[in-house]
């Protein structure tokens, strides 16, 4: 009996050892250049960062940024379509080399990914139709507030929502937006850009931002261990900040001027 237990234990330990020893790719940049292909995450339900245009092809500020990076690196771009909660797991599972999907820089996320210097900024608001009466956090009591998982709003809204607020979570932005649109939630927490895009697309609902919850800078993320890739991305951000390319992409898609971007 103890012999069998020992075998079982050894097998499990072996399995964990194999799992834990998955190597990081210290030569990620070289591999990308050699394979002539870079894989970058793409969200298509997060306006204006990633959407489907009228021909149902991916476009948006983050997707344009991805295209520019692939061009500057001289490699082919492969867009890896992800939902919000998958942006980081796709990176960690090596399904993507870079995560460029409006990932706000937070210390929580920094425990699992490495951020480059930011290339954009956003704010999180509570937004809803005209009939929902919210002017501040206190009005959230008794209301159903929807939001997508693994986003900045998921982290920030519960901090300011008083007890009695019903927060509901969806697995991706498309579901959250539809919930607001069909009246299944009273309001949603989302990026201000998304709210104004919804307002434009559904004028009959009269969607407005009610109040701001948080602001953040967002950045490109790499898997921990990919030093060379991170260094290249930081250089790219530096160069394109100074030549105005970042500002151009940002303003074309968001309609808002890009603020001064700090660096690490």
């Amino acid at each position: 009996m103890t012999n069998m237990l020992r075998c079982l234990f050894a097998a499990c330990a072996g399995l964990f050892a194999v799992a834990a020893s998955a190597p990081a790719d210290a030569q990620a940049l070289d591999r990308i250049i050699k394979e002539k292909k870079i894989r970058i995450t793409a969200q298509v339900d997060s306006a204006p960062f990633g959407i489907l245009d009228k021909d149902n092809k991916p476009t948006g500020s983050e997707i344009e940024t991805a295209r520019q990076i692939a061009k500057d690196l001289g490699v082919e771009l492969e867009l890896v379509q992800v939902t919000g909660p998958q942006r980081i797991p796709a990176l960690l599972a090596d399904r993507a080399d870079l995560a460029i999907s409006s990932l706000s820089i937070t210390t929580e996320r920094a425990k699992t990914v490495w951020f480059a210097s930011p290339h954009g900024a956003l704010s999180i608001v509570i937004g809803g139709p005209a009939r929902t009466n919210i002017t501040g956090p206190a009005d959230l009591v008794g209301k159903k507030i929807g939001m997508t998982r693994a986003t900045l709003e998921e982290q920030e809204v519960p901090k300011i929502a008083p007890p009695g607020t019903q927060i509901v979570f969806f697995d991706e932005h498309a579901a959250t937006q539809q919930a607001l649109m069909t009246g299944q939630v009273d309001a949603i927490g989302a990026a201000a850009f998304l709210i104004s895009d919804l307002a434009k697309r559904a004028p009959q609902l009269n969607i407005t931002p009610k109040f701001t919850v948080a602001t953040a800078f967002y950045a490109i993320a790499v898997k921990p261990g990919n030093f060379d890739l991170l260094q290249w991305v930081n250089t790219w951000v530096f160069v394109n900040k100074n030549n105005g390319m970042l500002a151009k992409i940002y303003e074309t898609h968001t309609g808002v001027k890009l603020v001064d971007l700090p660096t690490f």
Partner: protein
């Protein structure tokens, strides 16, 4: 707001190929693995049987969505660099293998014991008995429930939309969000699945009737 037009309809239709591709590949790969599972399941060796039973119980006792999450999020930990498509195919194939293995095990055991005994009295070895006598008869019995499972598999591919895999359901989700017309989009997606599955269901039932005589309920006699 984008109206629901031809472009949008075509986007949803085009995603059907991913639903069909995933279903067929998982069916074939799962079928091959399932054959192995079924044979292991009737092995004369206790531990081998236990292994097969454990595999089947695991996949039939846990949600498909959880299996997808584990394969999709966690296989990367084991050093495997898998793209989304490969991860999804692996998960669905493993799922199909368990169910098909169990279905086919039942069909193998449905072949009358007399067949085994007659074959043994002819001094045939076990693998010969299986190959020449049991499996051909079991295969005939197996066709209706196997076709029935293909229907389950096609419907199960909808779950992959939750991890962002763009098949018909996810395409519908994206279009519904882009056009704000869930009352048009989701019934269309339902109709697409119905048109894919219903003929298969009818086929399965007709095949079953060829093997069993249908009974009409005498309850409605008067």
């Amino acid at each position: 707001m984008r109206p629901f037009g031809a472009n949008e309809f075509v986007f949803i239709l085009a995603a059907i190929r991913w639903t069909v591709a995933l279903s067929l590949i998982a069916f074939v790969a799962g079928g091959i693995a399932g054959t192995g599972i079924a044979l292991l399941r009737i092995s004369l060796l206790g531990p081998v049987r236990a292994l097969a039973i454990g595999y089947i119980q695991l996949f039939q006792g846990t949600p498909l969505l959880m299996q997808l999450f584990l394969v999709y999020y966690c296989l990367g930990l084991f050093g495997l660099r898998l793209d989304a498509w490969t991860a999804v195919v692996i998960a669905y194939s493993a799922y199909a293998a368990a169910f098909l293995g169990e279905i086919w095990r039942g069909c193998l055991q449905a072949v009358p014991l007399g067949q085994w005994e007659a074959a043994k009295s002819l001094a045939l070895r076990r693998y010969q008995i299986l190959r020449l006598i049991i499996v051909p008869q079991a295969a005939r019995i197996a066709i209706p429930p196997t076709v029935g499972f293909l229907v389950q598999l096609v419907k199960a591919t909808a779950v992959a939309s939750i991890i962002g895999f763009v098949e018909v359901t996810r395409a519908g989700q994206l279009i519904s969000n882009a056009t704000f017309e869930p009352t048009i989009v989701y019934p269309i997606v339902a109709a697409i699945y119905f048109l894919l599955c219903w003929p298969l269901s009818l086929l399965s039932r007709r095949l079953e009737r060829r093997l069993d005589v249908a009974t009409h309920s005498p309850l409605a006699a008067h």
